[in-house]
């Protein structure tokens, strides 16, 4: 009787472990594929919810600018300067180095960017810290980009 119980527990456990193991393997495999095969878009514009180029008017949208500045001052300034490196890179000229989509994906998906994107990995090695996700929504990330554009134009 005991033997049967032990065997059945072992089977249940085995099944459970197997099931979990499978999930994990699938996840990892997916990661590996991603790492090896980022799309051209992802390589240039980052991994995240922004999957195509966004349209940006040449003229600064004042409403978006104000919103973006408020969020930046509340959620970004602890670690970033516009001029000069702090915890993270300086941001006054970030749009010279990165596309708006790349900046947005970095804000919206910082964990994945640090782990899986070659540029993110490079930055992690340089700055020694993973940028935290600051609960910024997609439209808010877009607004931050507007503020960064405005800053770059005026400084």
């Amino acid at each position: 009787m005991k033997l049967i119980t032990t065997i059945s527990i072992s089977i249940v456990l085995l099944l459970t472990i197997q099931a979990c193991g499978d999930d994990e393997t699938t996840d990892r495999r997916a990661d590996v594929q991603q790492e090896e095969g980022l799309t051209d878009f992802e390589l240039e514009h980052g991994i995240g919810p922004i999957t195509e180029r966004i349209e940006i008017d040449e003229e600064i949208d004042q409403e978006l600018l104000t919103k973006g500045r408020d969020i930046y001052e509340m959620k970004c300034e602890m670690c970033h300067n516009m001029e000069g490196r702090m915890v993270g890179p300086e941001l006054g000229n970030v749009l010279d180095r990165r596309s708006p989509e790349f900046v947005m994906n970095f804000i919206l998906n910082p964990g994945r960017m640090a782990q899986d994107h070659p540029e993110g990995q490079k930055m992690l090695r340089e700055y020694m810290t993973v940028m935290p996700f600051q609960n910024v929504k997609e439209d808010e990330a877009r607004a931050i980009v507007e503020y960064l554009r405005y800053y770059a134009e005026h400084n």
Binding site: I9, C20, E73, M74, E77, M78, P132, N135
Partner: protein, 659 residues
């Protein structure tokens, strides 16, 4: 005189008898415990790493004053929610935001004895919005929000001695109830001889209205009743939903050596209160206003300091002065402790702790008895109904000292039995015991998942026991109280787990996890931070002086404070560190502690602002640091404050990042 002596003697003999029985039970070998085959039991409580339990269980902390949260069936300990006692782990009761929660008409009370948690209900079922819990010693009721798992409100109950019959809710959370365990002079602060008990002392049953949207409590009225001990209470459900039932003991009106003197009468009472009618009487102006100082402490808005509102005056219904009947006494043997209502709302089960039977009253028979005028006497205007007219059955052979009953919704009741340390299962149809199982040791309350509601899940039962003795590795003369988990899905009860808990797990409640877990907050959204001293714009971090009061508006993120160098503080200053955690990721917590602070560290959740008060009394350099291991550079998360002499002219400066 002789009569008194003989009564005393009889009481002493009775007491001695119980002690002898109890001693036998305690010293007797626990014998063979009935549990499932070890493998089967293990399988039933096994929750794989990373998986979630099926139930949240909330265990009161008893003399710890807190509420602990567990997952069932694994019995994983999830957290302690501090309620009535200061908690240095989180800074609860030490931070400036939480300190006002402890204000009472007796001053700042940093401890209490929390007994009966009760989850808010909708239509007789737990809805998982809030959980209430009582404070016994300095009578209060707290409301804990189950979105943040934080104590949001504490209401003091005036004119009450020992709020034990609390904090049970009615079936739509219209009211949460309170009750006097110790009768005291109702008129507050009355200085009278103790032996004026029968003349001057009264009981108070409190009805606290709960706002259906916010959960905010309001002491609507108290019923002033004869000076007995009101021990426990439960609301009716279904047909009895408009009623609340309280047990009484000490109808002898003893005020000394209650162990003996309050155990004489063959029957005490269950008080049946028609709360809806009482509320109507109050609404129609039948209440009087009595003096009664009390504090009502609560939060307004999303964040900030708890507000302490000092109140005076309470509306009372005095049974001696109201002609209409809204409360009835049901004679019940013998010093009944628990009173529990079955899922149909028909049966009211008394736990006569000195009785040899479990008495079961019928709600429909009670209504009939009221209609028939089956009143044997009136006490202070309260009709006492005929026992035979309300009783539906007596469960024979329930063991020694039946206390509390919960239900499985399949026609069975489960009663905890203290002295013989067991749980008996009995039929609500035949009133016969069908199964019994040992408890380790000396069980008080028991709890069935949903077992006090209209629709019990009845998957598991937890026994809350008072002594561990030999059950675990020994940890000294005073050990933690145990709890046992039983499987009650089959005909016979089976023991699954036995585990130590926190404080005294006096009573517990459980609720299906899916009713809570999707609503639980992961962060405080920064945009909604309405704390008056929050840092919402990082560049606004600063230090302000106003006389001897210095306020530091500080932010934290992985892995620094801003500002982290402060100079110009003087001995004699009162410094407030208003720390806003600028993280917006779930469970990324920062804390702050500074050398020499005469309180505790403060933990701050993501997006939250908390305040630590510091009164430096010596000059020097004071390091401060983050107490929560927040990141790989956690050890770098630190700063310095320079404290100068009281008459120093070192200017107030602060900075971050410029060496």
């Amino acid at each position: 005189m002789t009569q008194i002596k003989s009564n005393k003697l009889r009481g002493i003999l009775l007491g001695a008898g119980f002690v002898a029985i109890a001693a036998f039970v305690f010293t007797g070998c626990p014998g063979q415990q009935r549990m499932l085959d070890t493998g089967d039991a293990a399988q039933k409580v096994y929750v794989a790493p990373g998986e979630h339990d099926e139930y949240y269980a909330f265990f009161s902390g008893g003399y710890s004053g807190q509420l602990s949260v567990w997952g069932l069936p694994s019995a994983r300990f999830l957290k302690v929610i501090p309620v009535f006692s200061q908690d240095p782990e989180t800074g609860y009761g030490y931070s400036e935001e939480t300190k006002p929660l402890f204000n009472t008409s007796y001053g700042f009370i940093p401890w209490d004895d929390s007994h009966h948690p009760h989850i808010s209900q909708t239509d007789g079922d737990a809805d998982g919005r809030w959980i209430f819990i009582n404070a016994n010693n300095t009578p209060r009721i707290a409301r804990i929000d189950l979105v943040t798992f934080e104590t949001k409100e504490i209401l003091e109950l005036p004119n009450t001695g020992g709020n034990h019959a609390s904090s049970f809710v009615t079936s739509n959370t219209e009211y949460v109830i309170g009750g006097t365990r110790f009768s005291i002079p109702y008129e507050q602060d009355l200085d009278v001889p103790i032996d004026s008990y029968s003349d001057e002392f009264r009981g108070a049953l409190s009805f606290i209205k709960v706002d259906e949207n916010s959960g905010k409590m309001d002491l609507e009225f108290q019923i002033v009743v004869p000076p007995y001990n009101y021990d426990l209470g439960r609301a009716g459900k279904g047909p009895s939903a408009d009623w609340v039932f309280f047990t009484t003991y000490n109808t002898e009106e003893a005020h000394t050596m209650l162990e003996v003197n309050a155990s004489r009468n063959d029957k005490d009472f269950i008080a049946a209160v028609n709360w809806r009618k009482a509320a109507e009487l109050v609404a129609n102006g039948h209440g009087q206003t009595a003096p009664g100082e009390y504090y009502h402490n609560y939060y307004e808005g999303n964040q900030g300091y708890a507000i302490s509102e000092q109140k005076n005056g309470v509306t009372i219904l005095d049974t001696r002065e109201i002609d209409e009947d809204f409360i009835y006494y049901l004679p019940t043997p013998k010093s009944p402790h628990g009173v529990d209502v079955d899922p149909t709302g028909e049966y009211i089960v008394g736990g006569g702790k000195l009785a040899t039977v479990i008495p079961v009253h019928s709600f429909s028979r009670m209504l009939q008895a009221i209609e028939d005028g089956a009143v044997v006497e009136r006490i202070d205007g309260i009709p006492v109904l005929d026992y035979d007219a309300t009783i539906a059955g007596e469960v024979e052979n329930p063991g020694l000292g039946p206390l509390h009953t919960e239900f499985d919704g399949r026609g069975y009741a489960y009663t905890s039995v203290y002295i013989s340390s067991e749980i008996v299962k009995w039929s609500l149809e035949t009133f016969e015991v069908v199964d019994r199982i040992d408890a380790y040791y000396s069980i008080g309350h028991l709890m069935i998942t949903g077992g006090d509601t209209k629709n019990p899940d009845a998957r598991y039962m937890v026994g809350l026991t008072k002594t561990a003795k030999d059950r675990y590795l020994p940890t000294g003369p005073k050990q933690n109280h145990p709890a046992q988990l039983y499987d009650i899905s089959n005909d016979r009860m089976e023991l699954l787990l036995d585990f130590p808990t926190i404080g005294e797990p006096h009573y517990a409640q459980a609720i299906r996890a899916d009713l809570i877990k999707d609503n639980v907050a992961q962060i405080y959204e920064m945009e909604d931070n309405d704390h008056p001293h929050a840092l919402t714009r990082i560049a606004d971090n600063r230090v302000e002086r106003d006389g001897n009061v210095v306020r530091v508006f500080m932010g934290s993120t992985r892995s620094h404070f801003r500002p982290d160098n402060i100079e110009g503080i003087r001995v004699g200053d009162t410094v407030y560190f208003h720390l806003t955690n600028l993280e917006q990721e779930w469970d990324v917590v920062h804390g702050i502690a500074i050398k020499g602070a005469q309180n505790s560290e403060i933990l701050v959740a993501p997006g939250q602002t908390k305040t630590m008060k510091w009164e430096p009394n010596r000059t020097g350099i004071y390091p401060f640091y983050c107490t929560a291991f927040c990141s790989a550079l956690h050890q770098e998360m630190q700063g310095y404050v320079r404290v100068s002499a009281a008459d120093s002219d070192v200017p107030l400066t602060w900075r971050t990042g410029t060496n």
